[in-house]
Structures are given as structure tokens and as C-alpha cells.
């Protein structure tokens, strides 16, 4: 009897403890994907999936030298199929390791594919248990297969380099930080439309082994945003206009704004946004939807192509006015793009209206697209230039008179 009890006890403990080993795969059997590229396949209706897979032996950190001897920390493979899942399974035909998606940093979609619709992509990447909600999603005018196969950035793994591009996107204000969760949220929303970051390949890198006067190495860069209507890409926002988009969706703090010198328009000055408080207030007067935007920004002068001192109040006022006009222009430009050019509420103005006027929203929701395109915009920008960084006096040669004074 005791033996039986012991046997059952041991069996129970083993079943409980070892259940976590079910379906286990050794780490050296896994092909860990770092970035995925999605393009149109050669055959009509097919899709091409490119996976950037890390080669662990050659992707060591600073403590270990590469031992794989291939010189390539990644291995990129591509396969086509009638669906994303089928194409991914086809990747397994030429991968010696099991493809593992849980550590994927980025999903890059070619714009030609995005124009035909990405509902299947949204579904797949939100349905699969391996894929994360915080994976970055971007569109690209270049072949996505090329984007994910390009060695870019200072990181050993280019997928991580793409991810890290977005870490400081508020500094450059050149693209929104669009993650799967954001894409899913806006796609499912009754009024908002998705907007994704845009990546492009450009020759910015200079070879250190064979330096040239012109860059020769392609690098991935943030290149604005892709605007969607339902699940189809309908247009893009240029990087220089993206700051206006970020006011609505994220935070454009630390972005740089360049403006001409007040006394010498041929020279320019640069200011950095230290704080940016942006508010959208919806209005509904005489059955007319409207939005009042108010931006309060504190900026710091970081570069002056002409003499400037923070003590020169007249010059400070003039610069503040110029920056206000500049930022107001960016806000109006992005709203105009949304209303007139793309007719897509990617600025989530419908959500803002719904929060303020839930009763009225029910009446206009069915006709929101028309209401949105006809909505009025009243934007106000208030800029305060409070610092010129470390310098107090203008950067210019002192003449004798000034020195004695």
C-alpha cells in the first residue's frame, strides 16, 4: 500500500513539475527572428515574407568575439505563399532551425502591399501567441525584403537598430512610434484610422575601410508616416510635416525647429522644444463640428547662424512669433492633409469629439467622414523662448568699443 502511495505521489509530482517541458525546444534549435518584411509576391494574390534571423555565433556582445566566422550577425531568408502563415511555414523549408517569432522587433510592410490592404496582416500579428503587441510596424517605399536584410545602425543586429531608431523619435520628430497595439486599436476603432511609421533606405553610411567623399552604404532612416483609410494605405506624410502629427498622437518634445534670423533671413536659427503642451478641444455649434487646438511650447535656442542674445527682448519676441507661425503651419498642414487630401481621421479627432459630445456623436457617427472633412479648425500657438542654452552674449568678434564698454 505504501509503495502504491509513493508511486502515485512521485507520479503526481513529476506530472506537475514536468508539464512545463511539454513542447519545449532547445534554444540552439531556434531561428530567432529579429525583423520581418512583407512584400507582394510574384504571383497574383501571394505574399512574400522575409525574415531577418539572428546568427548567435556571430552576434556576440562586447564580451565575446564572433566565433561563427561568417562575418554576418544575421541570416535573411525569404519565402512566398498565398497567406502570411503559409509563407512563414515555407521559410521552414530552408531553415535548419525552427523559426521563432517572439523576439521580433519590427514588421516592415512594402507600400504596394499596404495599398491593397493590411487587414490580414493585422489579424495575423494580433492573433498569434508568439508575436508581441509592442512590435513596431512600419511601411516602406523600398522592397521590405531589402529593408530587413540591410545592415544598418550601430547595433550588431539590424532589427534592434530599427527598434532603437524609434527610441528617440521624439527628438527627430520624423516618424510616429507605431506598434502593433496602436495599429490594432485604430483599425478596430469606429472613427480613427491607422497611421504607421515610414522607413526608407538611403545611402548615408560611409565605409571606414574605404572612405569616400560621398556616402556609399545604404542605411534605414525614419521617413515620415504612412496614412491609412480602413486597412489601405492612402498616402504619406513627409518627415518635415510629421511634427504636426506627433502633436496629435504622441509627444513632440525635444523636436528641433529651424527659423530664419530676424535681421538676416538668409541665415537660420534652430530652437529645441523643451516642453509642448498640446490640447484639442472639440466644438459643436449650429450642427458644425469644429476643433480648437492650443499648443503651449517652451523652446530653447540651440544654434544661431546670426548674433543672438537672450537679453535682446525684441529679437526674442520676433523669434517666438516666427516659431509660432512655423508650428501653426505644421498643425494646419497635417489637419489639411487629413481632411482634404486623404479624408482619413488618423489624428483621432473623432475620438476627441466623442469624448466631449457623446450624445451628438451618436447622431453624426454614421456620417463622420463628411463631418470630419468639413470640420473647422482654429489653432493657437504660444511659444516662449526662455533659454539660449549655455551662452549669454552673441557669438561674434568683439570690437574695441564693446570690449572697453
Amino acid at each position: 500500500m505504501r509503495k502504491k502511495v509513493k508511486f502515485i505521489l512521485i507520479l503526481s509530482v513529476l506530472v506537475t513539475l514536468l508539464s512545463g517541458c511539454l513542447g519545449k525546444t532547445e534554444i540552439n534549435d531556434l531561428g530567432i527572428v529579429m525583423a520581418v518584411g512583407l512584400d507582394k509576391g510574384e504571383e497574383e494574390g501571394s505574399i512574400k515574407v522575409t525574415a531577418q534571423i539572428v546568427r548567435p555565433a556571430d552576434a556576440r556582445g562586447s564580451t565575446g568575439a564572433p566565433s561563427g566566422q561568417t562575418g554576418e550577425p544575421i541570416w535573411s531568408i525569404t519565402a512566398s505563399g498565398d497567406s502570411i502563415f503559409e509563407a512563414m511555414r515555407h521559410l521552414g523549408r530552408h531553415s535548419s532551425r525552427r523559426i521563432y517569432w517572439a523576439h521580433n522587433f519590427a514588421v516592415v510592410i512594402n507600400e504596394d502591399l499596404a495599398k491593397e490592404g493590411i487587414s490580414d496582416i493585422i489579424d495575423f500579428f494580433t492573433r498569434n501567441h508568439q508575436l508581441r503587441m509592442q512590435t513596431l510596424v512600419a511601411v516602406t517605399p523600398d522592397p521590405a525584403s531589402e529593408v530587413v536584410s540591410t545592415m544598418t545602425g550601430i547595433e550588431v543586429i539590424p532589427g534592434q537598430a530599427i527598434n532603437d531608431l524609434f527610441l528617440f523619435n521624439s527628438l527627430t520628430a520624423a516618424a510616429p512610434q507605431s506598434e502593433i497595439i496602436d495599429l490594432q486599436k485604430t483599425y478596430l476603432n469606429e472613427s480613427s484610422q491607422p497611421v504607421l511609421a515610414r522607413l526608407s533606405l538611403n545611402t548615408h553610411g560611409i565605409s571606414n575601410k574605404e572612405p569616400t567623399s560621398e556616402p556609399t552604404i545604404k542605411q534605414i532612416e525614419l521617413a515620415g508616416a504612412g496614412v491609412f483609410k480602413n486597412d489601405k494605405l492612402v498616402g504619406t506624410v513627409k518627415p518635415e510635416d510629421t511634427i504636426g502629427l506627433l502633436f496629435f498622437l504622441e509627444n513632440a518634445k525635444s523636436a528641433a525647429v529651424v527659423t530664419p534670423c530676424p535681421d538676416n533671413p538668409e541665415q537660420s536659427m534652430s530652437v529645441e522644444l523643451k516642453t509642448a503642451n498640446f490640447q484639442v478641444t472639440p466644438t459643436y455649434n449650429n450642427n458644425q463640428v469644429g476643433f480648437d487646438t492650443k499648443l503651449k511650447a517652451v523652446v530653447q535656442l540651440v544654434e544661431a547662424g546670426c548674433p543672438f542674445s537672450i537679453s535682446d527682448e525684441k529679437q526674442v519676441k520676433q523669434i517666438e512669433k516666427q516659431i509660432e507661425e512655423n508650428l501653426k503651419g505644421k498643425i494646419e498642414k497635417i489637419v489639411e492633409l487629413a481632411q482634404k487630401e486623404y479624408k482619413s481621421d488618423f489624428l483621432e479627432l473623432g475620438e476627441t469629439f466623442k469624448n466631449r459630445y457623446p450624445g451628438e456623436w451618436k447622431k453624426i457617427v454614421a456620417n463622420w467622414e463628411d463631418e470630419f472633412t468639413q470640420a473647422t479648425l482654429n489653432s493657437k500657438v504660444e511659444v516662449k523662448l526662455t533659454s539660449a542654452a549655455l551662452l549669454y552674449l552673441p557669438t561674434k568678434p568683439r570690437n574695441e568699443e564693446e570690449v572697453h564698454r
Binding site: 497595439i181 486599436k185 469624448n355
Partner: protein, 399 residues
């Protein structure tokens, strides 16, 4: 010899018995129905459920030496008690199906998709039988650890989600009207009904009857507070549309959590905390179902019923989780009707019968106290009793 548990353990059992399902599956179900207002609905459900638990405490206080089935026997005789026991067994059978949906879909769908469903059922069977065999005191202690796990899980999730939290997602409130929001709370009241019926079975084992109302109310309010954080974060981080997309919406939250740049993908830690809570719930369900089954067959020791009851519950649980569609049918429709109708019917019936037959209950209770057969007569408390010899079978005075 019967064992008693402290009021703290009792509160911990209440919290664990509702938490696991309420944070994820219930919120997904409610989000599909009322969108943004799931957090309001959760609060309404908790407040409504306090009325249910107060009624149960009133019923048991009339006859503190026995549980709800013993009281039924005193009120209208053996067959009535068996009828109530049968209803309760059906209730716990369905509730076990719901618990299994919560437990299996969390672990299988997100962590071990290649593991067969029966493995999870077997593990629940082993752990549940172990807990039920050693009785309420062991489960009570486990529940205390479960509360710390719940707290740790909530803190970890909050730290990882607040950076993405947008309070405007919670607006506008009462989008589908106040009536719809209250009506949607039935899903969460059904979760609380599971606790109410558990309390109807275990309350006589709780020390200090004068503290019952206070500790059960506190258990409900603490449990409600731990739970309501989830719908607020789910709506504020994921949005109600995304929450409604998933069967286990809380796992989407856990998978999205990230503390700073470097601490992410820590859902394995969170699921370990979650598992302690749900395993406590499984043990509690086995204990209650076995106790109820022993009353149907007139047995003195509920432990003789653990194995057959566990087999029935596990078989049903496997059948339910095997098909996701079937599981969702039970979860969103059948379970709500079964849970609410049985819980409210039994509570109202005994509340009314008891109010007419107060004297009979008092007399019988006095007899039990004099003969030392009631569970409350035992002075031995959880802090001093060994769990191994605690034969806390159904209240012997009615056997």
C-alpha cells in the same frame, strides 16, 4: 474534530475564488457588450454582490453550527436538503467548467500551445484533490499566499502599463446607457455568485461568527478593488475594442507590459503569481463540490467523495475546454443563467423559509451546541491545528 479558519483566511479565500476569471475573461465578455464602461460595470457588480453575501451571512448566522445544506435539512427535511445539495453540485460542476476555461486558456493558449489540454486537467485534478483532502485550513493558508500573489501581479502589471495608459480611453462613460451597463454587470455578479455559494458551504468553519459580516464584506471590497484595476487598465491601455477581441484579454495586457527599456516580457513571472490564485480556486471548488456530494449521499466524511467528484468535474472541464466555441457558449450565456438563477434562488428561498422558521433553527442550533456537533463548537483554530488530522467533514449533527 473539526477545524476552523481565521477571518483573514476567509477573506483570502473570497478574493482568490473570484479574481482569476474576473480580471480577464469576464472583462472581455463585458467589453464585447458595453465597450468602455466595463470598469463601471465591474464596480456595480461588486456592490450588488455584497447584498448577496450579506444574505448568505444572515442565513448561516441563523444556524451557525451547520452549512446551508444542514440548514435546509432542519427547515424542510432530508429530501429538501438533498435537492439543495443537488442544485449546489450542479452549480459547482458548471463553475469548475468556467474555472477550467480560465486556467487552461491562460496557460495553454499563451504559454504551452503544443501541450494537450488533458495535461492541464490532470494537474488541476492532482492539485485540487491534494488541497481538498487536507481540507479548508490548508486551502486557507494557500489562499493567503494567493492574496500576496494577486497583489504582486497587480503591482507588476501596473508598473508595466502606466506609461501607455490614456485616461481619455475611459471616456465617454455610460455610452450605451445606464441600464446596459448595469445589465452587463450580470457577468461579474455570476463570478461573485461562485464566491457566495462557496461561502454558504464554508462559513461555519470560520471563527468568530460576530465578525462574519465584516470579514465577508471586506473580502468582497478588497477583491473588487484588486479586480477593478484590470478593466481600468485594459480600457486605458488596450482600448475596449481590443479588450473585446480576445478570450483572455488580461493576457494581452500582461504581454504588453514593459517597465522602462529593459524589463519586458515578464509575463511568465506574472502567470506564476496568477497560478497560485487559480490553483487555490480549484482546490476550493473540489472541496465544496465534495462536501455537497457527501450531503447528497448522506456521508459523514466528504473525503470519500473527493475522487469521484474530482473525476466528474475534471471530465466536464476537459469536455468544455476542448472546444473554444463550446467554452465561450458556457462562459457567456449558460454559466450566467445557471450561476445567477441557482445562487439567487437558493439564497432567497432559505432567507424566506428561515425567517418563518427562526425558532426551529435556534432550537436545533442549541441542541447541536450542547451535543458539540457543530463546526463552531470546536475551539481548535487553524493556527494550532495540524492539517493532516483535520477531518472537517460536513456538519455531523445532521448525519
Amino acid at each position: 474534530m473539526k477545524v476552523q479558519i481565521t477571518n483573514g483566511m476567509f477573506m483570502a479565500i473570497i478574493i482568490n475564488a473570484v479574481y482569476a476569471k474576473a480580471i480577464g475573461l469576464t472583462q472581455g465578455t463585458m467589453a464585447r457588450e458595453i465597450g468602455n464602461d466595463i470598469w463601471i460595470s465591474t464596480i456595480i457588480a461588486t456592490l450588488l454582490s455584497v447584498l448577496l453575501i450579506w444574505s448568505i451571512v444572515v442565513i448561516i448566522k441563523r444556524f451557525p453550527s451547520g452549512d446551508i445544506m444542514d440548514q435546509s435539512k432542519v427547515l424542510l427535511g432530508g429530501w429538501f436538503s438533498k435537492f439543495i445539495s443537488l442544485l449546489l453540485f450542479f452549480f459547482f460542476l458548471c463553475s469548475y467548467g468556467v474555472i477550467m476555461i480560465t486556467y487552461v486558456y491562460h496557460l495553454m493558449d499563451y504559454f504551452l500551445p503544443e501541450a494537450p489540454a488533458y495535461i492541464f486537467i490532470i494537474i488541476a485534478f492532482i492539485v485540487g484533490c491534494y488541497g481538498a483532502y487536507f481540507g479548508i485550513e490548508v486551502i486557507g493558508r494557500m489562499a493567503l499566499i494567493g492574496v500576496f500573489s494577486v497583489l504582486a501581479l497587480n503591482i507588476l502589471l501596473m508598473l508595466g502599463s502606466l506609461s501607455k495608459f490614456d485616461v481619455y480611453e475611459l471616456l465617454p462613460t455610460f455610452q450605451d446607457g445606464i441600464t446596459s451597463t448595469i445589465w452587463a454587470s450580470r457577468h461579474h455578479v455570476a463570478d461573485w455568485a461562485m464566491v457566495a455559494m462557496t461561502v454558504a458551504v464554508i462559513l461555519p468553519y470560520v471563527r468568530n461568527p460576530q465578525e462574519w459580516t465584516r470579514s465577508s464584506t471586506a473580502g468582497f471590497l478588497f477583491g473588487g478593488t484588486f479586480i477593478v484595476m484590470w478593466p481600468i487598465l485594459e480600457v486605458g491601455v488596450l482600448s475596449s475594442e481590443v479588450t473585446g477581441q480576445y478570450i483572455v484579454s488580461c493576457m494581452q495586457m500582461a504581454r504588453s507590459a514593459k517597465i522602462g527599456q529593459f524589463i519586458h516580457r515578464y509575463e511568465m513571472i506574472m502567470i506564476a503569481f496568477f497560478a497560485i490564485s487559480i490553483l487555490t480556486q480549484i482546490m476550493m471548488c473540489f472541496l465544496c463540490a465534495s462536501t455537497v456530494a457527501s450531503k447528497i449521499f448522506g456521508l459523514k466524511d466528504y473525503r470519500r467523495m473527493i475522487l469521484p467528484v474530482a473525476l466528474i468535474l475534471s471530465g466536464f472541464g476537459f469536455w468544455i475546454v476542448y472546444d473554444h466555441h463550446r467554452a465561450m457558449e458556457l462562459l457567456e450565456t449558460a454559466w450566467v443563467y445557471v450561476s445567477l438563477s441557482i445562487a439567487i434562488f437558493i439564497t432567497l428561498l432559505l432567507l424566506i423559509l428561515g425567517s418563518f422558521m427562526k425558532k426551529k433553527l435556534e432550537t436545533k442550533n442549541k441542541e447541536n451546541v450542547e451535543h458539540g456537533t457543530g463546526s463552531n463548537n470546536n475551539k481548535k483554530t487553524s493556527s494550532s491545528s495540524g492539517s493532516g488530522n483535520s477531518s472537517n467533514s460536513g456538519n455531523a449533527q445532521t448525519e
